[in-house]
Symmetry: C2
Subunit: 236 residues, 2 copies
DNA sequence: GCAGAAACTATACGCCGTGAAGTTTAAATA
DNA sequence: TATTTAAACTTCACGGCGTATAGTTTCTGC
């Protein structure tokens, strides 16, 4: 029977890992487009069809890769967040943001895989099953907003955001972790998130390349501005 | 000789236009991935190779399409900008932003084509020759910043942005049109741009779908916040 | 030792971009 | 008008892709 630790099982796990690893290597060197079953198999000295023993379709493989890469991103920002003292929200938020940009610059193809059009023809699994890592990143963003909320609350004094009646999204999972965050706090979270994602996305996709101001400096300045505009004294 | 208006010339122009039109139709209905020479030719009752008489490669066609779509976007936001009175910068900026989001929502595939990974394997022409429309949109963003600058100037009091020594980007073309905009004004422009692009990009790519707050409302609120944070009294 | 499953290959189909060569058609020229 | 020429287009071919089907080898549990 299939007891754990059998030779068969071990080989299977190893081959699965190798497929993913080779795919990630191809992606890192030649972009998401290079993730093809035939190329992976070629690299491994196999036939493309052999991969079907490990992943039902190419899209399944891509979905797994997205999860994997997404997890790496989540780890990077979570680590940065945890490393900064909670007592200094400005510094903490900036640390998170720098980790996000830093990871994106170090893994531009991974960023494209997660946030852009990934592989040609790829269709995300429709179940709406967002990867665990998406939930983690979402939680991280909520944590940013939670840290900023006491300072920024006054900005949303006149707003009338409401919790939705039905809630099938990430929100319902993340919400319990931040009981003090009101509906307008989600708007705040998305504001921060949109801002950071926008800048990094423009940079990764080269739409900032034609601006000759250093993206690095611009980003730092934007962070300072962001933190200041939220009413938190900047120190980072 | 090939005088303009010859039958030959006319047919050529018409066929070229039809190729582009069919390609755009395919893109709008099935996404940028659907832009294939064979599909276009099939639709036109031709052979794929016939298209090579009009475009050197598929990437050439895609480049042309990007230009075309980009121009449509530029027209949309320019029209919106011109339609709002210069005397009310808050309203004007919001009108521009709403036009941007509105166009993106109406042409999501076009947005992906311009700002995302376009067609599988597509490589932008390396000459760095940004399309004219990119210049126009860039000018539009600069106009936003120019309108906001008098109000937002104080935010950049402590900054030391400098014009770069060498300037090969869009910046050098756009700068002369806004003589009153200092280097920090570019940072302001990119701040606004990053913010808007980030939100719209997240919405188009579905990363806001799992948030149950209405993207429409969120965007409106963000606009109000943005304008307010720039020190302009909101009226829009 | 042997049945059966798992891993893998071979073959094939239809899709793609594109190069080379051949054919039809329309314009230009003498 | 007859002939040359070039443009428009097709046909055939190659290598790439995902993947379905069927066949082959290899390992495992009884």
């Amino acid at each position: 029977m299939g007891s754990t630790g059998g030779r068969r099982e071990r080989l299977r796990v190893e081959t699965t890992a190798e497929i993913k690893q080779v795919a990630l290597k191809l992606m890192a060197s030649d972009g998401p487009d290079a993730i093809t079953l035939r190329a992976i198999a070629r690299e491994m000295g196999m036939t493309a069809n052999a991969i079907y023993g490990y992943f039902a379709t190419r899209d399944d493989l891509v979905t797994t890769l997205i999860n994997e890469v997404y997890t790496a991103l989540a780890n990077a920002v979570d680590t940065a967040w945890a490393s900064a003292p909670a007592a200094d929200p400005a510094h903490r938020i900036q640390t998170w943001a720098r980790a996000f940009r830093g990871w994106a610059l170090a893994n531009p193809q991974g960023f494209r895989l997660i946030y852009g059009d990934p592989v040609p023809g790829y269709q995300a699994p429709e179940g709406g099953a967002a990867p665990d890592a998406a939930y983690r990143v979402c939680t991280g963003i909520a944590a940013l907003a939670d840290a900023a909320w006491p300072h920024a609350e006054h900005l949303y004094a006149g707003s009338d955001f409401q919790w939705p009646d039905f809630d099938g999204g990430l929100l319902s999972k993340v919400r319990p972790a931040f009981p003090d965050l009101p509906p307008a706090g989600v708007a705040l979270a998305l504001r921060i998130w949109g801002h950071l994602h926008g800048l990094v996305s423009l940079e990764i996709y080269g739409h900032l390349r034609t601006q000759t101001i250093s993206p690095e400096k611009l980003f730092q300045e934007e962070l300072a501005q962001l933190v200041r505009s939220l009413g938190i004294t900047s120190e980072g």
